[in-house]
Amino acid sequence: MTHKTDVVIIGSGPVGLFAVFELGLLNLKAHLIDNLDRVGGQCAELYPEKPIYDIPAYPKITGQELTDKLISQIKPFEPTFHLNQQADSIEKIDDGWKIVTSEGTTINARCIVIAAGAGSFVPRKPPIDTIAEFEGTSVFYAIRNKELFKNKKILIVGGGDSALDWTNDLATIADVTLMHRRKEFRAAPDSVNKMLNLEKEGKIKFLHGQLKSLSGKNKMIKEVKYSHEEKEYSIEVDYLLPFFGLKMELGPIANWGINLNENLIKVDTEKFETSEPSIFAIGDINTYPGKLKLILSGFHESALMAQKCFAYCYPDKKNVFRYTTSSKDLHKKLGL
């Protein structure tokens, strides 16, 4: 099925979210695409609990609170979210653009707004030369099908929530070893206690260590070497699940033929349009003289971008500038 909309926003960080609002005020409908399984970008993924002090009118607001408030602010405009998928390719069509995601979702839109931050969040991979040989067959950074691990020897590495949650979960069906460089964990206390109990009952094993190398054949690992306090050890495993958090990578956007400057997209400061007409870039992903990577700047950029999107979507209509305080028309749009 092909969706049709006015604007596709790539990235649902704070800036992508607020863009829905500014576009909505001008009657423009938006679809958002994000790699992550939830919205909020860096604010929700990297620092949900940390307070931000420079959002106008909020002396103090955490990353998650800001995200929640943005979601409620844009609700009247009923944006459509396509999460857990990457915007992979774009193609020029008659009346705009066709965007295809990694999950095969296809959206036709008049304009594209790239609000991709520092790129897609992707798993941080251990720097082991041979790891790529085993990825997708014997090494997994995310788990889709638990059945694969039934009665197998699994090595989970890491000390955060994902590592602990999967250790606790897979303990019932597989022979699980958890490895971490120290016996302290930055995970929910409940999961930590559960894991420690499983260890006490002999249902999982815990190892101190850091990954060194992998060997095996036919895309399946046999042996993992690891080190602890300058000594090397090895363990036989069928599957390796490394959980070292996420990092941001520009990804497919680099291949879209848009002018870049060191992984940032060059825009003008009137419309925040890229070298490709009707493709815009706002928030951390763009660059222009004087750019500051602040949420505040991204919000401002959204408002100006929306004006130009309106001109593309309604070439014959004049856009009358109005305030949300007093415009009956805007109140209607906001559902008041």
């Binding site: 520092a118 302290e184 930055r186 990092k247």
Partner: protein
């Protein structure tokens, strides 16, 4: 203005001028050495990982929970590993010796 000594990933030694109040990450980054520091010093990326290779390690403030947790997402972590954005340069760190951790 003080000095710090940084060995890059090719093994080349650099003597960098250091301002009190800057973080070690900022000093290394602003000198143009190859340190990713993706989060800009927010203790949210672990890509400013360095090893402290002389006895100045004993002069540093101890690692706090935030930094230790973030180091969990780094690789090749040793006893002398630190996140350089969490170390503020002070006069007593003059001539601290650091090596950039592998990427």
């Amino acid at each position: 203005m003080g000095k710090i000594k940084v060995t890059d990933r090719e093994g080349k030694l650099h003597e960098l001028e250091a301002d009190v109040g800057s973080t070690i990450m900022e000093i290394i980054r602003d000198a143009g050495l190859d340190i990713e520091a993706a989060c800009g010093g927010c203790c949210a990326c672990a890509t400013c990982h360095v090893y402290v290779t002389n006895d100045k390690i004993n002069t540093l403030d101890p690692i706090d929970d935030d930094e230790e947790s973030m180091l969990d997402q780094a690789f090749h972590v040793n006893n002398n590993s630190r996140l350089s954005c969490q170390i503020e340069y002070k006069e007593n760190l003059e001539n601290i010796e650091l090596t950039l951790a592998p990427e």
